[in-house]
Symmetry: C2
Subunit: 200 residues, 2 copies
């Protein structure tokens, strides 16, 4: 129905996650209405995030290009406790509990054989190297409490077993089948408190 | 929690209509993941829609810069029937019914004294001029069937009264208090069919 630049923008917006045709249309018309500088700032922010954001070379959290992430560059963080998460967004969820003062390791996903995600697609090798190199005493497996997350935790527990490190898993205070990102602080905090050692 | 370019993008996205903090975060991470050229295309589409889209100089529908809109530049459309809508998106809704072959006039809003929208903020003067200049025989008042839309229709009916033109209002087959944009084709089509003359 729409043509030209408006159609193009609606199409591009419709490719974003959680944006249906109606939302794309509404946002496109919103962009039409707002001042040019606001639209310019949005476009610039999209380009900047691609140009200036990379993964932390240590833990694979998001970081500004050429630097360690905020957590890794904070010297007050305890290097002997590593919290392993699937996704950088999960770090935000854990940080909100204010119960964790160690460092993170972001796997960049979870094991999912059906979608072709095996250990080589995740940052597993780097995790094993870090545990040796950084003198970690505890690794908290903080993957999602769903099928893929549990399988990933079990796999990591097996891989970490031979190393001299305590491996723990967050307590399943979280609703099973849920998504860590949407947990409230209290529930996730309790899950962190109740973590138990894993024996593979 | 996030810093730098990622924070900036989440903030910008959060300003868009219907995008809450969680959605903004999800979309920002999506943008991080997609290829640079896809992000570039999105940013370019935002800029292009601002640069290359204007309002049609005749009916105030959206149009590519320097041109009449698709409807006005289509010579097969009947110039003697004018459908008055609040918003360009309403044109899409009416077009979907495939029951209207005339032209449009977009008011760019509805009367809303509380928000300071009076006749001077809408394209009312231009509508009255068009009715004389283009030899319109019928004006269909197709504003939303809610408070502001009804008030706008009544006001326009009064203004158009002295002119030699039939003024009609779409039938209230649409749920009252609703929004024209979300009507399904059948309901809106029936409302168009059942339009009745307005006597101010």
């Amino acid at each position: 129905m729409y043509t030209g630049p408006l159609r193009a923008l609606i199409d591009e917006l419709g490719r974003l996650p959680g944006i249906g045709p109606k939302s794309a249309q509404r946002i496109a018309f919103h962009v039409l209405k707002i001042p040019g500088e606001d639209a310019g700032r949005l476009a610039a922010a999209i380009l900047a995030v691609k140009e200036r954001t990379t993964l932390c070379s240590r833990c694979f959290n998001v970081a500004e290009a050429g630097e360690l992430c905020d957590v890794c560059s904070d010297e007050r963080r305890d290097p002997t406790v590593l919290c392993v998460v699937e996704d950088p967004r999960d770090i935000v969820a854990v940080e909100r509990t204010q119960q964790f003062r160690g460092r993170y390791h972001v796997l960049q996903g979870a094991l999912n054989p059906l979608e072709g995600v095996g250990p080589d697609q995740l940052r597993v090798r780097e995790l094993l190297e870090r545990v040796g190199a950084e003198g970690a005493k505890e690794v908290i497996l903080c993957t999602n409490p769903n099928l893929e997350g549990e399988a990933t935790a079990m796999y990591l527990a097996r891989m970490l077993g031979p190393l001299e490190v305590t491996v723990t898993r967050i307590a399943s205070g979280l609703p099973v089948g849920g998504d860590l990102e949407y947990a409230d602080e209290l529930t996730l905090g309790r899950a962190l408190e109740g973590r138990r050692q894993v024996t593979a």
